[in-house]
């Protein structure tokens, strides 16, 4: 039986359920207690579970995150909320040097059941220091897992799964998704935490995205359908590990890939996805994997400029349309169709070999 919930409410239900289920679960962070969290995720929980289990902290990101690491070493299951991802920069020693490495460095002597919840992304005109994504930073750290829920249902499932896991997990929550609504079935069996889901089936190209841009990609796919282009939309739900099988299966069907991300293009998640799919699916690709990403620019405060720095629905539609456009001598949708820009050098070579 499902219920319509906002994204923050789904997280709140998940937190409540885990606090009730296991006395070793506790949460801490700036304003998570009396105030109930900047995005209401911990609303009502301090009243219900007391201040030791829902702890307001001073503004000391590195040390309260390190507190979570220490508590995890001593058998607790801490859920650390870092108010925004921008402040996570101050906690990277605890996350990267401690949480990610201790189980390994100790020769497997310790578990690290630590969850770090981080709101982030570009919201509405918060200025450059409050409008960034840092998934690229944590993606490059062995020992961490990263979930990126885009729907209330995933938020509910993935927070609960993170808390019961014995590995350190970062949950990247998008600030513009907290008040999005969706059906949440609290009794349904969850898919594995890091499995990608095909949100929309299609035959002409695969759009791979995550977090808020997975939602935007789906909107773009609905518009593309009106033009006769059927895009398959994959919501990765996880950035570490990445469900390559689901991506590859789709590429084998559509032969074209567009990666859509809010993060800056340079050395971002899209670069990793494009490179890996190019290696793994070379023979199935009719065109180079394309990336649509945030610009390599600090986020401007001005609203119009801010919007111009990240992919919007019309940009996704245009990029997909361009990739599916028939080129001279070719038909859209056929195996040999290629993207005119840049020249399809790799596929041409493969075609020559086949000939």
């Amino acid at each position: 039986m499902s219920e319509e919930l906002l994204y923050w409410q789904a997280l709140n239900r998940a937190m409540d359920a885990e606090l009730a289920a296991d006395a070793s679960v506790f949460t801490l962070g700036e304003d998570v207690g009396l105030v109930g969290g900047s995005y209401r995720v911990t609303e009502g929980l301090m009243a219900k579970y007391g201040e030791w289990r829902v702890r307001d902290t001073p503004i000391s990101e590195n040390s309260f995150t390190g507190l979570g690491v220490g508590a995890a070493l001593a058998g607790m299951r801490p859920v650390v909320e870092i108010m925004t991802i921008n402040f996570m920069l101050l906690a990277l020693d605890s996350i990267i040097n401690a949480a990610a490495k201790i189980p390994f460095m100790s020769g497997g002597q310790f578990s690290m059941p630590l969850v770090i919840r981080v709101p982030g992304g570009i919201a509405h005109q918060l200025g450059a220091q409050h409008s960034q994504r840092l998934e690229h930073t944590v993606m490059n750290v062995p020992g961490l897992r990263i979930a990126v829920p885009s729907t209330p249902q995933d938020a509910y499932w993935q927070l609960r799964q993170s808390i019961v896991s014995d590995e350190p997990i970062i949950l990247l929550e998008h600030e513009l998704l907290y008040f999005s609504k969706g059906a949440v079935d609290m009794l349904a069996d969850a898919p594995p935490m890091h499995r990608a889901l095909v949100r929309r089936e299609g035959r002409d190209l695969t759009i791979i995205s995550y977090s808020r841009h997975a939602i935007l990609s789906r909107e773009a796919a609905d518009q593309l359908a009106k033009e006769g282009i059927e895009a398959e939309v994959i919501d990765l739900r996880s950035l570490k590990p990445i469900d390559w099988d689901t991506c590859a299966t789709s590429v084998e069907k559509t032969h074209r890939v567009l990666v859509v991300e809010e993060d800056c293009r340079f050395a971002g998640a899209g670069a990793e996805i494009a490179a890996t799919l190019a290696e793994r699916c070379f023979d199935s690709l009719d065109a180079p994997v394309q990336r649509l990403a945030g610009l390599d620019i600090s986020t401007p405060f001005n609203g119009a400029l801010e919007a111009a720095t990240i992919p919007q629905v019309p940009d996704i539609v245009a990029a997909a349309r361009e990739m599916c456009r028939p080129t001279q001598g070719n038909m859209a949708g056929t195996k040999s169709a290629s993207s005119p820009k840049p020249p399809n050098s790799g596929k041409a070579t493969a075609a020559e070999k086949a000939a």
């Binding site: 000391s60 590195n62 309260f64 507190l67």
Partner: protein, 350 residues
Amino acid sequence: MERDTLHRMLRDMLLSRAFEERAAEEYTKGNIVGFLHLYPGEEAVGAGIINAAGPSDYIVSTYREHGHALMRGTPAREVMAELFGRAGGVSGGMGGSMHMFDSKLRFMGGYALVGESCPIALGIAYAVAMRELPEAVICFFGDGAVNQGTFHESLNMAGLWRLPLLFVCENNHYAIGTEIHRHSAVVEVSKRAAAYNIPAEKVDGMDVLKVYDAARRALDRIRAGGGPQFIECDTYRYGGHSMADPGSYRPAVEVKAHKASDPISAAIREVEFRYPTQAELADVGPDNIGHLTAHMVEAGHLAEADVEILKKEVQAIVEDAAQFALQSPQPTMEAAWAHMNCNRHNEVLI
């Protein structure tokens, strides 16, 4: 003080000293590579504090932690094999000199970032307090750490929530190569605890009896619900910051800073890749081990001949540890991956 405690502390200090001297030798031979931070000079701190702790207390340490691990009870074989990077090491050869972990003994790790032990210990203390257990957490750090944000942040939270946490500053007067007057506006480290409402005491860190007494009193106050406590141990390391550091900055800097009147400078001036000779140490007064030995002989706990016997015992332990380390197998990549995924169990990720 009980005779057994005195004996244990003397043995711990002698073992730590002999172990580190052997480690330095093995480093010179090439059996140990990488960073190697040695403890000679500071043994009274570890021995006094760790012997005052109970078996259910937790220890969180730094990168200069071989002595701490030995004093806590980790077999010398496992500490030496870890220095060699072998599979028989306490961390399976994955951690190395700066990352000794021994979960069975609640030895919660050596941490290689200055000031990093503070938040880790804070979290363990939070877990203890939350469950209302009668345990305490001991957090070691040096004088270099007191200028890190984590030190202040952790003291603040420990003071705020009255956590069962004993902060122990091993003040050896040097933040790597920078002497304390050149790195701290206030050189009396213990004063800083006052800002966070944490009772603090400064003790002679070269005198294990004083360190032990202070630790017992502090742990008693913690167990009585007195909240966090702070002990500053005034000590000195005889070698450089690590084996890669001859400590040559000390004569030059100290001659300028303290002039020639500082008695310790006399011994330090000669320091290169070696420790001062016994004669040089005798010139600067009894060292920490000498101090305890003298006390024990004087109090009738120990005949001078016993010290020689103890020294032989620890030498045999260290010799055995080095042989064990040499013969311990190299860890495999399979083992490395198993450690990497040690907490995955049967979890299905995708």
